[in-house]
């Protein structure tokens, strides 16, 4: 760098980006600083990590409990179990009857849900601010004393099977992401689906549920995050009252999610009885979330497939006019992660030609990197996304909880944007060259095979 005009400012944005000639933006990152979220973090004696983000702008509070268990922790023969277990967390505990959780939250004017991914299982509520004690009572009661009966397990097994049918089995293309993960990943922990198989769901027993609860649902395997309108002193006392005497447990067994780097050029054809058109999906294995390479590839994805001005939209939807729908995304994991590009081509279009266009664009990005204009777009989109995330107490609570659980540092919520803004065009070019511009990828072709499919 030739010279430094303002040392204080460059401390905040320690990078330099050349200006584009046709200047439309105001170079936000040099003039715009988001006020940091107030974060307080501490640990109860039983090992429960607590993160508080007090923000009184709207009289609403969100509570998120993240357990460090996801489908990656499932054993063979029990795929889908972490998610089935999530359903059981709504089936009652010592002082809360079956489905009482829904009812308590809703009659207090709140919303709630739980979700399961490969990485974690989360449970969350948003409530009018004065109902905070209710949420802490409900979350602590099930962390302390989940009640499991055969009848409730059978009932939720059926609900989960209908969820699987609704979201995967009865949807055209509904199973393709689970299929390609099996092609990309070699380690069972990474490769199997979160929804699991019907047979494994059938095999799950009450004893399995009790054992899973004991191993993974201990306070020292969880993070409790609060965001929104609350008084910190009162809240800390309430948290101690409700969660302080829940017994800790030995930590769960260590998990190996390591992967060989190779995917090689794997190919699979999938006959989809519900799909009206052919489609394809390409997937690459990439380094873990928040690694410099992952960040660079996440931004490369924005250049390739995000929005109407993205390269592949302009080449394929416009340009060649060969696809009906184009999509792409990154799957963030703590271990090896992945990035996907997929398309539903128009009838009669040559799929290999479309894939060639995609690979040519990747090749170009690997050779020349993003343009100055593309970097400016990325910068503004990142800042925009970051401001929007801060609007809702629930999105703040979830982001903070992820950083606390995955990285052991909830304050990353305040520096994550700077990390992404610091990624250079050269780093994007290089990462695309190493990870995407290669035959080391999985390709899944979807072939319509139903009675309704055109011959």
């Amino acid at each position: 760098m030739l010279f430094r005009q303002d040392p204080a400012a460059s401390h905040v944005f320690a990078f330099f980006r050349p200006k584009c000639f046709d200047k439309t933006s105001k170079y936000m990152s040099e003039t715009f600083k988001l006020p940091p979220l107030a974060i307080e973090e501490y640990t109860l004696a039983n090992g429960l990590r607590v993160v508080l983000n007090a923000d009184n702008s709207i009289p609403v509070v969100s509570i998120a409990v993240y357990y460090n268990v996801g489908s990656r922790n499932e054993r063979e023969g029990r795929t889908g179990f972490a998610h089935l277990f999530e359903h059981m967390m709504f089936q009652g505990s010592e002082n809360v009857p079956k489905a009482g959780h829904f009812q308590h939250i809703m009659k207090a004017g709140g919303t709630m849900n739980g979700t399961t991914s490969s990485e974690r299982t989360n449970y969350y509520e948003t409530l009018p601010a004065n109902q905070l004690p209710l949420a802490l009572w409900l979350e602590s009661d099930r962390m302390r004393s989940l009640a499991v009966t055969q009848e409730n397990l059978d009932n939720q097994r059926e609900a989960v099977k209908e969820e699987k049918r609704l979201r995967y089995d009865n949807q055209p293309y509904g199973q393709i992401f689970d299929l390609i993960n099996e092609m990309i990943y070699k380690n069972f922990a990474n490769s199997h689906s979160t929804i699991g198989s019907m047979e494994h769901l059938d095999d799950a027993t009450v004893e399995d549920v009790q054992e899973f609860f004991r191993i993974y649902y201990a306070p020292n395997n969880a993070v409790l995050t609060l965001s929104g309108a609350f008084d910190k002193q009162t809240t800390k006392e309430l948290i101690e009252t409700y969660f302080g005497d829940i017994a800790s447990q030995p930590l769960p067994p260590a998990l190996d999610v390591s992967e060989p780097t190779e995917v090689a050029a794997t190919y699979k054809e999938w006959e989809d009885k519900l799909a009206p058109f052919p489609a394809f999906l390409i997937g690459w294995k990439i380094p873990p979330r928040r690694s410099p390479e992952f960040n660079a590839l996440y931004l490369a994805g924005k250049v390739l497939y995000d929005g109407d001005s993205s390269r592949l939209y302009q080449k394929l939807v416009k340009g060649e006019e060969s696809v009906i729908q184009l999509f792409g995304f990154t799957d963030e994991r703590r271990g090896p992660s992945s990035i996907f590009v997929g398309a539903i081509p128009k009838p009669e279009k040559d799929l290999s030609k479309i894939r060639e266009t995609i690979m040519n664009e990747i090749h170009d990005l690997a050779a020349h990197g993003p343009t100055c204009e593309e970097m400016e777009k990325i910068e503004n989109q990142l800042i925009n996304d970051s401001v929007r995330m801060r609007q809702s107490s629930m999105s703040r609570a979830q982001q903070i909880a992820e950083f606390a659980l995955y990285d052991g540092d909830p304050t990353l919520v305040n520096t994550d944007l700077d990390e992404l803004l610091a990624v250079t065009a050269e780093q994007i070019r290089h990462a695309v060259g190493v990870y995407l511009n290669t035959d080391n990828r999985a390709l899944l072709d979807v072939v319509p095979a139903g009675k309704g499919a055109a011959a």
């Binding site: 439309t24 933006s25 709207i58 009289p59 609403v60 489905a99 009812q103 809703m106 009659k107 207090a108 004017g109 709140g110 919303t111 948003t126 409530l127 009018p128 601010a129 004065n130 109902q131 905070l132 004690p133 209710l134 802490l136 009572w137 009932n155 939720q156 097994r157 059926e158 609900a159 209908e162 049918r165 609704l166 009865n170 309108a229 009252t241 005497d245 519900l274 799909a275 058109f277 929005g307 109407d308 001005s309 416009k318 006019e321 009906i324 729908q325 009838p347 204009e373 400016e376 777009k377 503004n380 989109q381 925009n384 996304d385 401001v387 929007r388 609007q391 809702s392 009675k451 309704g452």
Partner: protein
């Protein structure tokens, strides 16, 4: 904490009040109504330019025209090509989107408030000076025809299409989607003329929420939209929805289905119906959420489904009441039995005081949650103004919910939930569905997924 203290739910803390202030309203000389809600909490701004006409206002021989005009606004203007527009908008990290619903056409833009002026200029450009380039229109036609085929693979679309046909008959709400031949005949002249006639300031409303200064904003808005010429708002004359006298069963035969998608519906009411508040409370008890009766019955007790709900669709002119679930094929008939049990019960028996209080507490309690994001707050304000709800609608919403009584819930259930004339639509495997479902209806018809009637 002692086991004794844990036994019952804790009392809430002292309530915190939440008030939505009244926005500022103005009207430009050309009749464009403006609603400004200043909110500096975050450096964001949301714009909505909304027209009081939607898909129902398509000319009789041009189904799909309003949606086509909306979609084409961002595909080329006097100053910019489609690509230039996309680049300009996205380079600001912003979005502009335009779409038509049954009753309205809304152009939405949101941005960091630093780019408020830039995005407002682009919004004016796409609304006032679109050119509908021939090549882009051609692409739109061809892509839309493919999308129309694609949506026929989705069971939810097929169910909604049949339900709308049965409930609305010759009323335009019956059309949930144009046909390929409608799209193929859309031409540039028609779009241009329709845009000139319909996208007029005296048929529109400009709503802004966020980090803006009202005086500066009004000056800028007047510079950009002040010369926009008024026009005459077209009169509409729609057929009445049919009167239904018996319960019917319509099956869409979708081979290889893993489930049955069930929709049971009857004609409902418009958004401004005086029964609106008792209706939403009744619907909350019956089926709006995870603690409502049909969910507790069909999912939590029976395990038939991942989710069972009831829903009120209240549009500008009329609406519908519907009950929906996706169930495993083998319990299609059992699910109908439980649905009709609950639909009869809400009419026959008064709801309990506690059940009523719980439903009302939910509706009043989630109200501030819905206003937490700028997007959520904007939607509340947009709906209030587009449907012409009272000026103090958002301020009195919670009082109105609280005022609903047990007797009113029963009265509106009897009036608006009418099992004897409901249309049952089931998308699934007809061979398995028919024997289970036919006893629940007086008549049966079967369609294929292309919408053609099959032999029963």
């Amino acid at each position: 904490m002692t086991p004794e203290l844990r036994k019952s739910a804790p009392a809430p803390l002292a309530p915190v009040s939440f008030d939505i202030p009244q926005p500022i309203q103005a009207t430009l000389d050309n009749g464009l109504r403006v609603v400004i809600f200043e909110n500096e909490r975050l450096p964001l701004v949301s714009f909505r330019l909304a027209f009081q006409s939607g898909d129902t206002n398509d000319p009789k021989d041009s189904t799909g025209l309003t949606s086509a005009v909306a979609a084409m606004l961002v595909e080329g203007t006097e100053d910019y090509t489609s690509l230039q527009l996309a680049e300009k908008i996205e380079r600001l990290g912003s979005t502009i989107s335009a779409s038509a619903s049954d009753d309205f056409t809304i152009i939405s833009a949101s941005a960091l408030s630093l780019y408020s002026s830039e995005i407002l200029h682009l919004l004016a450009e796409v609304v006032l000076r679109p050119t509908f380039p021939e090549s882009e229109l051609d692409l739109y036609r061809r892509n839309t025809v493919e999308h129309l085929k694609f949506q026929r693979s989705q069971p939810g679309f097929l169910a909604g299409e049949q339900a709308a046909r049965l409930i609305y008959g010759k009323h335009p709400y019956a059309k949930v989607s144009p046909k390929a031949e409608d799209i193929e005949k859309l031409d540039r002249e028609t779009l241009k003329n329709f845009h000139a006639e319909t996208f007029i300031p005296n048929n529109a409303m400009f709503i802004v929420v966020g980090d803006v200064k009202r005086d500066e904003f009004l000056v800028e808005l007047n510079e950009l939209f002040g010369d926009w010429q008024q026009g005459s708002v077209a009169e509409t004359d729609f057929a009445e929805p049919p009167v239904r006298n018996s319960r019917s069963l319509t099956i869409v035969d979708r081979p290889d289905s893993a489930q049955s998608n069930i929709v049971i519906s009857n004609l409902g009411v418009k958004r401004t119906d005086p029964d609106y508040f008792p209706l939403i409370v009744m619907n909350q008890v019956l089926g709006a959420g995870a603690s409502s009766r049909v969910f507790m019955n069909l999912r939590e007790e029976k395990g038939y489904t991942y989710g069972a709900y009831t829903r009120l669709e209240t549009k500008k002119l009329t609406g519908e009441f519907e009950a929906t679930a996706e169930v495993r094929t083998a319990v299609t008939g059992d699910s109908l039995k439980e649905f009709f049990y609950e639909l009869d019960r809400i009419r026959k028996d008064k709801v309990g005081d506690q059940e009523l209080a719980d439903a009302k507490n939910f509706l009043t309690g989630v109200f501030p949650l819905r206003a937490e994001t700028q997007e959520g707050l904007t939607n509340l304000i947009v709906n209030q103004h587009l449907y012409g709800l009272p000026e103090d609608y958002l301020q009195t919403y919670r009082e109105n919910v609280d005022a609903v009584t047990v007797d009113e819930v029963q009265r509106v259930a009897v009036r608006h939930v009418r099992p004897d004339e409901m249309a049952i639509v089931i998308v699934g495997d007809a061979n398995e569905v028919l024997p289970q479902a036919k006893e629940y209806a007086a008549s049966v018809e079967i369609f294929d997924t292309d919408g053609n009637r099959k032999e029963t």
